[in-house]
């Protein structure tokens, strides 16, 4: 729905070049539309990175403020979502470094905040309970996975990003992305086996 609303703003040029043009002008209507279009994806990514909803919401706002300030740097050659996530990544890293320079993972407290919400619809109470249990197990397991692996897993499997985009976003070599995905999946193995049973 929001994507449709945004599309009505960009009838002629490609979406990316229109966004780049609008960001250079700091067009408030465009920014409103972008926030609405990418709200869930950005928050989801930041939440997985920070492991805490309140922190993720702060980072969400900070990311958009940085988009406003650095909007002129976006040239429209890459997908906007990759650039946006890259800004989000930098904001999160800055925050986490300031908060705890030793480890980015120590912030991820499973008791703090509510990182995951159950799906809004469910076929039956039993299925819902089972799904909930699986999610809890998976959530707990994901929380144990180091942030550097968790981040690539989210970008690859949840955001469906290409490996090259992930490499570009996190500023790491392509081979490192592949290794991190492999190691992340293997780290989740016990929980995934448990969820399958």
């Amino acid at each position: 729905m929001v994507a449709t609303a945004f599309s009505s703003l960009v009838p002629m040029e490609t979406e990316e070049s229109q966004i780049a043009h609008g960001l250079r002008r700091r067009d408030p209507d465009l920014l409103d539309a972008l926030i609405e279009q990418y709200q869930h994806r950005l928050l989801r990514y930041l939440l997985h990175l920070a492991g805490n909803r309140a922190v993720a919401e702060d980072l969400f706002q900070e990311t958009w403020l940085r988009v406003l300030e650095k909007g002129h740097q976006y040239d429209g050659r890459n997908r906007f979502v990759t650039w946006l996530m890259s800004i989000g990544h930098n904001v999160a890293i800055d925050y986490l470094r300031k908060k705890n320079p030793r480890s980015l993972d120590e912030l991820a407290d499973p008791e703090d905040g509510a990182p995951f919400e159950p799906p809004a619809t469910g076929p039956s109470p039993f299925d819902l309970a089972l799904a909930q249990q699986q999610h809890e197990m998976f959530d707990a397991a994901l929380g144990q996975v180091p942030a550097i692996f968790r981040e690539v897993l989210v970008l690859r499997f949840q955001e469906q990003m290409k490996l090259e985009e992930i490499a570009q976003l996190i500023h790491i070599p392509l081979a490192t992305v592949k290794t991190r995905i492999y190691r992340g999946v293997m780290a989740l193995r016990p929980a995934l086996k448990g969820a399958a049973q």
């Binding site: 920014l31 300030e69 499997f157």
Partner: protein, 169 residues
């Protein structure tokens, strides 16, 4: 099977679903997965990871979105105001430089004319204009040096200083 084959299979498993994989590669992967337990296990794990991650519903609250939009609009306004202030400062600076240059040129011409009228050598114009320009500052400096300190400690001066300090605060 070689390590290279396993690595290739893992790479294809990681890419599939999002990136384009050539038909021969897909066929090779299917064949490999049918015979390699380790790689088929990894394929199942990636499928489960993707399924579970995608089934998680995380949504931003409308309040968060509205607050972010409001903050962005306020910040945007602030940035525009700052930019227009900087623009005005820039224009003022440029005008100041232009007027200083023009007045210096005029004073130089005037100095030359005075020197010519009085029959003085041309070399005196430069130092003369410079001295004339610096004269007010030199006069104030001399005044401050020679005025006795007691003048500054006069109750009237102290009252003026206090009043000025209060204005600044």
């Amino acid at each position: 099977m070689t390590n290279h084959e396993h690595e290739h299979a893992i790479e294809l498993i990681t890419c599939r679903g999002v990136e384009d994989i050539a038909a021969p590669d897909t066929a090779w992967l299917d064949l490999h997965l049918a015979t390699c337990t380790e790689c088929s296990d990894y394929a199942a794990l990636t499928d489960s990871t993707g399924r579970l991650l995608r089934s998680v519903a995380i949504t931003a609250s409308p309040a968060l979105v509205m607050m972010t939009q409001a903050r962005l609009r306020a910040r945007s306004l602030e940035m525009r105001e700052r930019e227009s202030r900087m623009f005005l400062i820039g224009v003022s600076f440029c005008l100041g430089v232009l007027s200083s240059t023009a007045s210096a040129w005029l004073w130089w011409k005037f100095g030359s004319w005075v020197a010519q009228m009085l029959g003085l050598p041309e070399s005196i114009v430069g130092p003369g204009v410079l001295l004339f320009w610096l004269l007010p500052a030199i006069a104030i400096a001399m005044l401050l040096m020679f005025v006795p300190q007691t003048v500054f400690n006069h109750p009237l001066m102290l009252a003026l200083a206090r009043e000025r300090e209060g204005e600044i605060r």
